[in-house]
Symmetry: C2
């Protein structure tokens, strides 16, 4: 199953150097998700050929404009492009009022149903799940209510070793083997031992998105062991005081969070307009957490399986 | 005095082909004005080096998103960039509510005072004037309340012919000559005839902006004789029915309006996503009104003086 994160925007609040405001496009299997939606996101989606026809769920971390001012435009264009499926929006209290007042004054009655789900920045909260995936919000420490998002695959069933399938296996037996059970005979004794007929499935992968937050070790418990972590890195070390004052992080702090969380890879973004060149941020992060990459617009990060032994 | 119109966006509601939503940057003497502010306008302003430090007045034609979704982002960035002068916004009822609710949820207290002026689409209305310029709104015919805007220079004083200045002219005499008066002697008889000592000033120039409107000859009275007219031209002739249905215009209808108004030059824009190529729109307009140009993003139209005899 594919699991990828495409960067649509990498800029902090004051846009500069043709960098765009925060937004990411996730492809997980056949599903598409948008995380944050800064101004101009709909143009970025067009530029990078992200087809919104499959987009059913949008997650907004907080109500600072650089994270959501593009939402009303995207919704309007999905309407113009005759989207008909319902669209779920997950975000803080107030987002529904903001969208609805704009639809009201433009006299727009959407072709599709818009369903708002209010997020609560006071602990881990399950926002969405299906047979393959769970999406959670978790609290970040910013100047307004703000959550991160965690996309976690569900554990897969055990894989049956095809060449060892026995002629007398029933469908029920196959289902039991996938669940990790042994197959018993009529007297209740083990007839076929699970470990002889199955192998471990691919482990579930996970991605965490930490949009705007001051350095806070409290985050670590929510994102422990993720395969990929996006964490804002607005400032270089030189502006650590400014980071604290504005409830943002330095690149080194983002890296420290990744390290403490045991993340496998880190992407840093939300770059301040102070940083024309991004290499200093990358170097400062890599000193703490070597497997760090910059959020470059248009770039896609694929989540590999941790073990290649399948 | 300079008088120019820079095109920041030329797209109709559904953005396509990397064309941006409606917005125009006006430079009139030392003043700067923004007319409409579609999503991404702040990025376009950066791209075309339009410095918002001097921007004090923004005019919004109507509350369809492609004409104003970029306003809250621009206001937010002007705040971040430490703008301190008051900013006047002219637009339809509701715009202040939309902006204020977004400032509320982002907990933003602007560095500058934001002053809303409600427009009324029921006749010519003076929105702003200073010693050199008047700005009016006038009604357009669209699906929601919508106004066009007319920027008209005030008549200049007559120009004194320097080489004919007489030694006995007082300052009062000079002022009277500029006002077109003759200079009288003590008995009230004409001593110096105005026409011998002054020449005609440069005529006042005018620009009219017709954002979204169905074809409506009623507009003509408001824009009569303008030097430059921008008029939306969403569709080609082939889609004239669609234009009527959606309260938009064809290129030929825009041209007909320009012709009836006796405009000197026409710019057409607000192109539908149906039109990848814009030449057909231009050709259809030029058949009716030869001096038509396309609204090309980044292009600046200077308003020349009608008579070159100065």
């Amino acid at each position: 199953m594919s699991f990828s994160v495409k960067i649509l925007g990498s800029s902090g609040a004051a846009p500069a150097y043709d960098r765009h405001h925060s937004s990411q496009w996730l492809e997980i299997g056949k599903k598409r998700f948008l995380v944050d939606c800064g101004e101009g996101t709909q143009m970025q989606l067009q530029r990078y050929l992200c087809r919104t026809g499959k987009l059913k769920r949008i997650f907004i971390s907080h109500l600072h404009g650089d994270h959501y001012f593009g939402l009303i435009g995207l919704i309007s264009s999905m309407h113009l492009f005759r989207q008909i499926d319902e669209l779920h929006i997950y975000g803080p209290k107030g987002l529904d009022d903001i969208i609805k007042i704009q639809l009201k004054y433009s006299d727009t009655f959407l072709n599709f149903k818009l369903i708002f789900h209010e997020t609560h920045p006071d602990g881990l909260e399950l926002l969405y799940e299906d047979s393959e995936l769970s999406v959670y919000s978790f609290p970040l420490q910013h100047r307004v209510p703000c959550t991160g998002f965690l996309f976690r695959e569900k554990p897969r069933p055990r894989k049956i070793i095809k060449e060892r399938i026995q002629p007398d296996f029933s469908l029920l037996n196959l289902a039991e083997l996938k669940q990790g059970k042994d197959i018993l005979d009529e007297s209740g004794k083990i007839k076929y031992r699970n470990e002889d007929y199955t192998k471990d499935p691919m482990p579930p992968r996970s991605y965490a998105y930490c949009s705007d937050t001051k350095y806070s070790p409290e985050i670590v418990e929510y994102i422990h062991g993720v395969d990929l972590l996006y964490h804002e890195a607005t400032f270089t070390n030189e502006f650590e005081d400014r980071a604290l004052e504005t409830f943002h992080s330095t690149a080194a702090q983002a890296a420290l969070t990744a390290k403490m969380a045991g993340a496998k890879k880190l992407i840093i973004g939300h770059f301040s307009a102070r940083n024309k060149e991004l290499d200093p941020l990358l170097q400062e992060a890599r000193l703490v957490f070597p497997d760090t990459e910059l959020a470059v617009e248009g770039e896609t990060f694929e989540l590999p399986f941790s073990t290649v032994d399948f």
